[in-house]
Assembly symmetry: C2
Homo-oligomer: 358 residues x 2
């Protein structure tokens, strides 16, 4: 069995908890002895046992002895108690169970905790090593890392553009820059976040739905909709305030404005007050309201302000093989090839006599 | 043996003639009987036998009988004589040799000839069908198609840009937008063309070399350098006019200007006169001077004028995962994924606390 097989299984288990564990990280763990599975588990949510404890309990249920087993776990086991923590340290449980070896994909991102799980286990005579799948392990807990280190939600900026970098944030009707496959993919991105965010301008211009129309929602359910509203009045008849999911629409508003926004359609919507200045406060308020992974879909004003503030983690840029400016032109038979860190697009002039489109 | 195996071999043979056959197309042919090679050949240049005749001659040399064989050929066999054509029709030779079946990747692009080879062969009782590898076959003869249908060279436009579409035509020193792998790839593109073209502005600003510094030249040797000069004086000390390859530097100039440009450094350079208006004339003159595949590397003025005229066939756009405007920003761990006709770039904010670069 290759060294990635069991870690991949642990990562799959961890993903079952994605969107359910905040403010904890999603973690998965597999116990293996003599090349066979002894027990497995994942963290299901705050107050529930950690993945390591779940795996040990699973082994007991199966009537199998974890003594001498190897633990494959997506995150360094915890070794601390107290401070609001509701579960005992996993390192202690692993030592007591007689586990012989621990393989952890990544260290705890908290600099005050990182490496201490490793040190505790090694001092107890358990063999410990890092990896494989460090990159996947780090991506899995990107929201937790951002919470721990930056006290704000993890933020993905998403947009579509043409070859010249002309943006258009997709509205419900288009005009679309990107193709149908990109739109399906964009909905899969939504499913990987717990809220889809737009600014007030996009709300007014596009009246978007921001629902999940392709793909399955994550374990935490479909993403909420979050409007970065400021203090301007909003159209109370907008879909976000009137459709079946309106109780899943949240607004960030200036203090004192909620009452003014309480049009009939906004019944059921929730409000976060923000003075437009105190980003630290906003970060903590968003986390407290359960927002840990935001997908920002526009528009340009909101994105520029988030970028200026450094409030973004991942960019997801869809580029279409065409120019929308001037007369507009779509390349025929476009082919993309990765070249180092760059991408090479080769495409034909559709009107050229040697073009496949001729 | 899959139906693509022999056609791929025919394509490989054809490529040996690339850059040598103008104004004829590069063509390759393979004769196969009972799953075994009987003979093969490719067109080596004007006045030389066609690929089909080469394959038949090769079979004779090997002492093998092509009777009953299948011919895999990258282009529909010719069936016409006269009009400056120096070789007899291949269709006749195939019938006389008793070939049983012909598979041709693509039809002759000349609308007055296309389908006639097929018709002649079928009327003689030879089974005929199109494909496979139509796309590769079409790309192989893109220069010939452009010559036949548009009476001008095949033209590739190449440039590098950032995510916002900010261009920079690479000069000899940079600043480079794209990475080292892209620059190697760009030199491979040069090897696939018979001339590298720049405008007078690029010559003055960048003083480029336009030589092949990575990869092997094509069968026709390294590309010449062609300066789209207009009537402005040029720096006689430019590398293109003074280096060891200066006899491979050509200029397109306004009528009457060559004498003025005959600075000592330009000894050995060649001139094409053009009034800036008559594009048809320029196309024919370029073809007559042996230019059949041009790679245009800038600058913006030249590219805009070619695009306005529809004088381009392929775009080759290198995009780097960064923004060069403002403070500039390179995404960390960029990943490109094809999504339908679009490309999705996912990359990290290098300053984000959850970034792999943190």
């Amino acid at each position: 069995m290759s060294s990635t097989f069991w870690m991949d299984r642990a990562l799959s288990l961890a993903r079952r908890g994605r969107g359910l564990t905040a403010p904890n990280p999603a973690v998965g763990a597999v116990l293996v002895k003599d090349g066979r599975l002894v027990g497995e588990g994942w963290h299901r949510g705050p107050g529930q046992p950690h993945a390591e404890a779940e795996a040990l309990a699973d082994a007991r249920r199966r009537g199998r002895d974890p003594r001498g087993a190897t633990l494959w776990v997506t995150l360094e086991p915890c070794c601390h108690e107290g401070g609001g923590k509701r579960t005992p340290p996993c390192t202690k449980a692993l030592v007591e169970a007689g586990v012989a070896e621990v393989r952890a994909a990544v260290a705890d991102p908290n600099p005050r905790v990182s490496g201490q799980g490793q040190a505790f286990l090694e001092s107890a005579g358990i063999r410990f090593s890092w990896g494989p799948r460090a990159e996947e392990g780090r991506e899995l807990i990107a929201d937790f890392t951002t919470w721990i280190r930056s006290s704000r939600p993890f933020i993905t900026l998403k947009w579509a553009q043409d070859l010249a970098g002309e943006l258009r944030y997709p509205g419900p009707e288009g005009p679309w820059i990107s193709g149908p496959e990109s739109r399906v993919r964009a909905h899969r991105l939504r499913a990987e976040h717990d809220a889809v965010v737009v600014g007030a301008g996009t709300l007014r211009t596009d009246d978007p739905e921001l629902t999940l129309r392709h793909g399955e929602p994550g374990p935490g359910g479909p993403p909420r909709r979050l409007v970065w509203a400021g203090s301007e009045p909003l159209p109370a008849g907008a879909r976000l305030f009137t459709d079946d999911f309106r109780s899943q629409t949240w607004l960030i508003v200036r203090p004192g404005t909620p009452a003014r926004l309480q049009a009939p359609g906004l019944v059921g919507s929730r409000f976060l007050e923000w003075d437009g200045q105190n980003w630290d406060r906003l970060g903590r308020d968003l986390l407290a309201a359960g927002f840990s992974r935001l997908l920002v879909e526009g528009g340009p004003t909101l994105v520029a302000s988030l970028r200026a503030q450094g409030w973004w983690d991942l960019s997801a840029v869809f580029t279409a093989p065409r120019w929308v400016g001037g007369p507009g032109l779509a390349l025929a038979s476009p082919q993309w090839t990765s070249v180092g860190k760059d991408i090479l697009l080769e495409g034909w002039n559709p009107e050229a006599s040697c073009s496949p489109a001729w």
